[in-house]
């Protein structure tokens, strides 16, 4: 496949980038309700539609529950649908989220991570994404503005793949990425069309047909329910390799590679590994470079795919390492570990008897700072040498 042309470079915020990403994929139905920190995205999309840049049905809904219901219904009718939300909005559409995945609709949604209800918070945190873990969606987490745009394009290609047919959620940190202005390369729409063109060559998925008596996902009875759920879970399993495959195809075509389910940074000869996700990953890279210069053999595993959990690639990356530190930007209620750490610990039998240290930091717009990461690396290093260590640390509580 030939390579894409160079796109236009613009300095825009993460939200605006999200709107561009969606627009370039030509969704037919958009239903998004504004909510901090995503409002600009919903507004920009509405602008694209009213300017004629995007030829889509923009449905003004009165809330996020309706937004997801509109998107999934449009998808069941065969349309390419897009929506965007955050925290309270994500929680408001909780039942519709599960219908979207249960009906196997290839809806793409962007979620600007923000803390969930409980303590009223208008600040960054991954709790909303965690609270939607079991909704059956594919969930991707991004590190910077360019990745937001690129992953939206990849999300449509993944969601609508005939062997996948699952809704995909692209998560980016509210405030840190949603309002972050960076230079971003906006691909040409013709190149995006070409990248999504393979979808047209596959068999069409079933959709509603006017006048024909068919229904989807009605009344799961006994084995019908079990079969549908089994197929859903199998599709999620297949999504793992598919993410690697599409990511590579994206890199081959557009020149930007993200390495699929996880990215490994300086892990080959590393003794200790830091596992992180989202915008904090950028900061972790900087600290790792500094520590490496001081002779510490540390590497980063950036978790990109959260659901399905990239078990196989994680095992391969972490097996044989001397200690692992996991930085969670959220909580796992009912477990003392952070959620990503808790899930990683499920792989302990395959990884080996490696100390896994859980760090909870970066809640409510409090930074995961350079000194914090330095401390994490030091403590994980000590654990690797057999010194005593603290299994779980809430960094903000210790300051």
């Amino acid at each position: 496949m030939a390579k894409a042309q160079k796109g236009q470079t613009r300095v825009i915020t993460g939200n605006a980038v999200g709107a561009y990403g969606a627009m370039l994929c030509r969704p037919e139905v958009v239903a998004a309700y504004p909510i901090t920190p995503q409002s600009e995205l919903a507004e920009q999309l509405a602008q694209f539609v009213s300017n004629g840049v995007l030829d889509a049905e923009y449905v003004e809904v009165e809330g996020e529950n309706s937004a997801m219901n509109v998107a999934l219904a449009a998808s069941v009718a065969g349309a390419r649908a897009f929506t965007a939300t955050s925290s309270y909005g994500l929680v408001f559409m909780y039942d519709a989220l599960q219908e979207a995945s249960g009906f196997r609709t290839p809806v793409v949604m962007v979620n600007a991570n923000r803390e969930t209800p409980g303590i009223h918070a208008v600040s960054s945190g991954q709790q909303d994404m965690i609270s939607a873990r079991d909704t059956g969606w594919v969930q991707i987490i991004v590190e910077n503005d360019q990745e937001i745009l690129d992953q939206i394009i990849i999300a449509f290609r993944l969601a609508e793949d005939y062997n996948i047919q699952l809704p995909v959620m692209v998560n980016y940190d509210g405030f840190y990425l949603s309002y972050l202005a960076e230079a971003v390369e906006i691909p040409n729409i013709e190149d995006v069309d070409a990248f999504l063109a393979p979808l047209k060559k596959q068999p069409g998925r079933q959709k509603l047909v006017p006048g024909v008596s068919i229904g989807c996902g009605t009344h799961g009875m006994e084995m019908g329910y079990v079969e549908a759920r089994y197929k859903h879970c199998q599709a999620l399993e297949r999504a793992k390799n598919k993410v690697d495959e599409i990511d590579k195809a994206f890199g081959d075509y557009f020149g930007r590679y993200y390495h699929g389910q996880i990215e490994e940074y300086r892990t080959d000869d590393a003794d200790i590994i830091i596992v992180a996700s989202g915008s904090a990953t950028g900061t972790v890279r900087t600290v790792i470079d500094t520590k490496r210069e001081a002779g510490i053999k540390v590497g980063l595993v950036k978790l990109r795919l959260f659901r399905p959990f990239p078990a196989e690639r994680l095992i391969k990356a972490l097996k044989g390492k001397k200690a692992i530190g996991v930085i969670d930007r959220s909580l796992c209620f009912g477990w003392k570990y952070g959620p990503i750490c808790m899930e990683l610990r499920a792989l302990s039998p395959e990884i080996g008897p490696t100390p896994i240290l859980s760090y909870i930091d970066g809640l409510a717009n409090l930074d995961i700072t350079v000194p914090h990461i330095g401390r994490v690396i030091d403590e994980v290093g000590a654990a690797a040498q057999g010194k005593p260590y603290q299994e779980v640390t809430w960094i903000p509580m210790e300051e």
Binding site: E182, G282, T283
Partner: protein
Amino acid sequence: MAARMLASAFVREGKSVASFPMYGFERRGAPVVAFTRVDEKPIREKTQIYNPDCLIVIDPGLLTLPTLFTGLKLESVFILNSPKKMVEQPDKNLKIGGVVNATQIAVDEIGRDIPNTCLLGAFAAATGWLKLQSILDCLPDYLSGDILERNIKSAGRGFREVEVTKW
């Protein structure tokens, strides 16, 4: 918005930039802090800035804030919007101070107290890290028509009229 214009201007000069604001509820008049990083190479850090090389204060009322200068690097720069002159060195870490009555200039040129573009011009003059032309060239990305012309004038006046003190 000013932080984004600054980002655009630096990108025009071939630098890498990452700029983001921190605020809570989205409403007009809410207090805002904006952080901008500039570098030759791509910027990976996504944290707030604790040790700035430069501090730009748009609201002179903030001078009463006791933590305003906390964390400033040695030999850093301070740009202030104020009708008064900068009499003494506000903090020992500062090397360069630039003061300009951006509110007045904005009211004169734009007709409203939006001192942002004026302060960008002052920043360019006081630090020398950015050419005025780069700022003026990126303004059309954000503004157009009459309001663009007025902001161009405001930025130019900020550049020329800022009073720079070196300590």
